[in-house]
Symmetry: C2
Subunit: 372 residues, 2 copies
């Protein structure tokens, strides 16, 4: 597409109101039609992008409200809501980027086109070119090379320090992050991997597709006992627990640990729901000399060499097809479906990393256009 064929306006999704505890609705997030900026007059260092698809992230919900618990300020009101994505350069006033190049950025926003200051974006997030010669699927830039992959890699490698022969437990095992965590643990030499997932279908997937040695179904009534009793095995309990869910699963997992066990605490510690009242088994933290470490897979929280090494290792494994993210493209195409896709994410209707295809012409792996 050349800039001459651009429409005069575009759809954007704006945050209109802070939701507090209210369910998401069009009063909170709604579509606004806005004129397209004048691309004939693009500022120096800027590029103008067409959005192909966006990442839908669990952290979007808490980002709508100010919170003492959060590690960043809330999303601004009456502006395009934030979203990372993949798109193509339509017009460039930056020497390093040319028309037609595919890029990843954390700053697309929930809109069809984006005018982006490259240097400013790189200071506060991601902006980089996708090189098709690397053999990595474009959507993996929002999966294995995005927060999903980094959370799995940094948790397993830098926090839990998985090494050859370790026995590793992973909750949220059928999800995008947990699924990558299992594959990464195997690459790092884990000898035995136990997943925790919901329902026999997902448990089967965790073993047969992801390569875990077994999977505990958290919908079974005695799942906490199944987890805790892992430490009764003759071959020993678990050396590492990758905690994706917190709550009573974490509580049971404490009892599954071997002495000197390491627990990587990733994502919101909320539990799978149910009658959870708080961690009751924390006494084993002392008795078994456990380490629990919370972390967030955002570059500014990590030494740059560690973070870049993580991205490089993930890129290698992705190109070699040694690891792969499970994706879920929302069933409808178009940015006007952003709210519904987000609601589906929070209702847990996705199985895999949730993406929204914005551009009906995009034909990459998994896209609705490719499936036609």
């Amino acid at each position: 597409m050349s800039s001459s064929s651009l429409p005069s306006s575009q759809k954007q999704v704006h945050l209109l109101k802070r939701p507090g505890r209210a369910p998401l609705s069009t009063e909170i997030l709604n579509v606004v039609t806005a004129p397209l900026p004048d691309v004939s007059n693009l500022a120096s260092g800027h590029v103008f992008l067409k959005t192909h698809f966006l990442s839908l992230d669990p952290s979007m919900r808490p980002s709508m409200d100010p919170s003492k618990k959060s590690y960043r300020p809330p999303a601004p009101l009456n502006e395009t809501f934030w979203a990372g994505g993949v798109g193509t350069v339509i017009k460039s006033n930056h020497p390093e980027y040319k028309e037609g190049e595919l890029v990843l950025s954390s700053a697309f926003g929930a809109q069809e086109y984006a005018d982006m200051d490259v240097a400013a974006t790189q200071r506060n997030g991601f902006f980089y070119k996708i090189d098709p010669a690397k053999g990595i699927e474009p959507r993996e830039y929002l999966g294995g090379l995005w927060g999903t992959g980094l959370a799995a890699y940094l948790g397993m490698k830098e926090i839990a320090k998985v090494k050859k022969g370790d026995r590793v437990l992973v909750s949220g095992a059928a999800g995008a992050t947990g699924g990558l965590a299992i594959q990464i643990a195997r690459q790092l030499g884990a000898s035995y991997i136990v997943g925790v997932a919901g329902g026999p279908g997902k448990a089967k997937y965790v073993v047969e597709e992801l390569g875990a040695d077994e999977c505990i179904d958290y919908r079974e009534a005695n799942f906490e006992k199944q987890i805790a009793s892992l430490s009764d095995r003759p071959e020993g309990g678990m050396d590492v627990y990758f905690d994706n869910v917190g709550g009573q699963t974490l509580d049971a997992a404490l009892l599954a640990m071997n002495p000197n066990g390491r627990i990587a605490c990733c994502g919101a510690i909320s539990g799978y729901g149910g009658s959870y009242e708080g961690l009751k088994n924390s006494f084993v933290i002392v008795a078994r000399r456990l380490t629990l470490q919370g972390y967030i897979a955002i570059g500014t929280f990590w030494p740059q060499d560690v973070y870049q090494a993580a991205i490089a290792q993930l890129a290698t494994w992705l190109a070699e097809k040694k690891i792969a993210t499970r994706f879920h493209f929302y069933e409808k195409v178009g940015v006007e479906n952003f709210l519904d896709a987000l609601k589906a994410l929070f209702e847990g209707k996705n199985w895999g990393k949730m993406l929204l295809q914005v551009d009906p012409e995009w034909k990459g792996e998994g896209s609705k256009s490719a499936a036609k």
Copy 2:
């Protein structure tokens, strides 16, 4: 005392029954009169010791029952119950130990005299000479140089990695371990130290005697709020929490932490009692990227160079009077008071590290004989 003036029998305290949940009584721990071994025929490598005083440790209670939670097997039945202590060599068949030398050992047992295999004791615990020239009070060998001091030092230095300028929170602050932890944090360069202790008298002691900058009284109704709101201070929250008590204090302390805060989990995580139902604030482990690490101050769990460096540093500070343990000699003298002293310990009647003077002739610092 020479071996010629030895009595023909001695009092020992035997473990007769596993208590389970029953309160301690003479059915469980009782005094037995046993003949003294034939010291004229001491085995090679053995020494025969007179017990001056013993350490009473919280871990004695759980050690009476087998437990999956415990890191060691239960104390054997119908034998002298274990206890560490300080005593004098009465007779020696070991080339490195001479009559009249003062020694520390983890293997005195609750008895008046002990026949000890030096090498075996050193393999499984402590046995070493106390050199009076070092200028360290003999009782400090069961305080600052015992589990108490090692727990405080290893927690602050190796687990929480206290460094210059850190803001440090310590629970159980008026106790022996917490008190040493405060003094050690100051030696390591902590800039601001907050204690948590029970009652205005102890809170005053924590500030005036131990040198904490302030102390929160956990008997005040809103103490959890006082702890949690430490993170609202303009100068920031806490970088380190030395957790002596677990429970709702740990839960509140999670909210007091700065990002990247380190929590050293020491001792049984049981809480001060009350309506505690489990850790509810564990979400901040992720949001603030906290590390919680449990540890046990027993030599076999540590690299020998780290452990020996800890002992050397503690000995230096003790000799220079830069740190000191608070001791509580049980009010009666004699091993027959072992059960009552232990009950007093579990009822929290002591303020400081609890010792039992066994030998009425011992005249060291704090002893009942010295006080006369």
